[in-house]
Symmetry: C2
């Protein structure tokens, strides 16, 4: 029931998802009348693979997470997470209030053994392929141990979902020399250098390495990660703005833009934030994916793809195993 456009986007997304994932089944939580009305026209396509479960309320996009956690236990969001907790569903996908989704998921599902804080991860394009960046805003301040948790969750995601046997993991810092940065990044780097994890720890990386594709996983605190990823989005918009304006300047450049329109569309698709699956909430005992609130059916369908990949890839078993496998003296430091 969440997101700026409401449940119609979710139902449209299901049309794609049912085709792409022939074995998947879906439970829609929310206003029964409204949802039945939306799926009525698609009854033949949906069949028994889509069921509706009534929830009398919903979490508003501007409600405080603490309020939602206390007062919205009969909401579509609460019930959807509950269906993961009971084992009826293997993953939950929502376009709703991010803070409430995180708070309710933590409360109901709990954290994976050994993980002290969950993180929000995002996947971004690079010059080589793609990169997982985390944390993108779940934690404004992080100590060394939490950054190590994020590295473990990031490499587990890269292995389980992106299929990389030994992901390259870097820690974002203001320089690549060992002496640079504050205590948290220096402490995390020391633990990761000595850890025996199924990844290649490349040490410190700088902001430009995100786009260059130097690593598969970029680890940072939620403050830096959130500001950085929004700045990247803003830069993509800025360049698209300048490019459009420049191409409109003369008759010649307009003609050029028409001839190159296929190439410009390819560029747009490559940079389309909808294609990158939204925010992945890692560290929870369950798969939780947050689609962009302003997304459309295509974006929501990508978020469903990611949720299915995470559940099928067994990401949470990987996180638990890798966290437990960190040498005890490193964990204790």
């Amino acid at each position: 029931m969440g997101g700026d456009a409401g449940p119609s986007v979710v139902v449209s997304a299901l049309v794609r998802s049912l085709q792409r994932h022939p074995a998947a089944k879906f439970i829609l939580h929310g206003d029964e009348a409204a949802l039945n009305d939306l799926i009525k026209k698609r009854k033949s396509k949906f069949g028994a693979r889509v069921s509706v479960r009534h929830a009398p309320t919903r979490v508003a996009m501007d409600e405080k997470p603490s309020f939602a956690l206390r007062r919205r236990r009969d909401s579509s969001m609460w019930r959807a997470i509950e269906s993961v907790k009971t084992g009826e569903a293997e993953a939950v996908v929502s376009a709703g209030n991010t803070g409430a989704l995180m708070a309710m998921s933590m409360y109901q599902l709990g954290l994976i053994e050994g993980i002290s804080r969950p993180a929000i991860a995002s996947v971004w394009p690079t010059q080589k392929s793609q990169v997982v960046v985390l944390d993108c805003g779940a934690n404004v301040e992080c100590d060394a141990e939490q950054l190590v948790d994020f590295a473990v969750m990031g490499e587990a995601f890269a292995r389980a979902v992106l299929g990389l046997p030994k992901p390259r993991v870097g820690l974002l810092n203001v320089g690549s020399e060992e002496v640079k940065g504050h205590e948290a990044v220096k402490g995390a780097a020391q633990i990761l250098r000595e850890a025996n994890l199924p990844m290649e720890f490349t040490g410190f990386i700088e902001g430009n390495h995100i786009g260059e594709g130097t690593v598969d996983v970029a680890v940072t605190d939620g403050f830096t990660g959130n500001v950085t990823l929004k700045a990247i989005e803003g830069t993509a918009k800025l360049i698209s703005f300048y490019l459009k304006r420049a191409l409109r300047r003369s008759l010649l450049s307009r003609l050029g833009a028409v001839l190159a329109s296929g190439a410009l569309m390819a560029l747009r698709r490559k940079l389309d934030p909808r294609a990158y699956g939204g925010g992945l909430m890692l560290g929870l005992n369950g798969v939780v994916v947050k689609s962009h609130g302003g997304t459309d059916a295509l974006g929501f369908a990508y978020a469903i793809d990611t949720a299915i990949d995470m559940a099928e890839g067994g990401i949470n078993r990987s996180i638990a195993a890798d966290r437990a496998g960190l040498r005890p003296e490193a964990v204790a430091s």
Copy 2:
């Protein structure tokens, strides 16, 4: 003598700068023989406006700032800063080692009364005009008072150099609501809301607002600022990489690119980091500008432009006056 390309870039830049600033005079510090050799061919253009001062050593690009500060007091960098200290020069521009330049400048010039830490500022293009972002890496951790200092230095720069009578200043955060963020940003916001400064404090901004042009000055700690600005640079490179690749895909798009080449050049100029003056070291008793180490003559000439604008605009008097004008109880908090 610094920078990846050495003094030839600096001497080439002077050709432009002497034309653009008919009243300016330049002192070149460094290896006398090498510099005289470089300016020999341009003797007629340079005349008495360019003089050479011998310095027997130089700071290497990879030397630690603490080492340079102790052992490089006969270097070109030290002597150039010294000429600002003695009043012989009004500004210093260097393409050398950033950390050493900051350390030597702090040691020789000292900080403006009331400012506790210097900051490195960068100017970036936006959808509307441009934005000053600071700190870009001088301080990896910052408290509320330091963020307030940065806001004062940023608005003084925007007034003195960009000519904005009442710059809009925002604090980078993970959300725009007052409750968001860590203690330092919340504390700084409270001081700035109550301060009587020649600026419009717009409260918290998010990473995407940098490119959107919502503010003229974006304030953040040096860790976040450094990672963010390098990520922005990396994103610009990433998009340029995809754009070139997309335009090469077919004969049609290649033809389109040729017709639109004027527009594509305009885009490249707009996003050219050389055009934005390098790193401006604010808070010091003197004007210090760091040009990109890998820059060419055009980039170095832009850095000289910025240094002259800062000196002529009296930025340091503005910073001192605005910092002193902050209400004493706010300063003490």
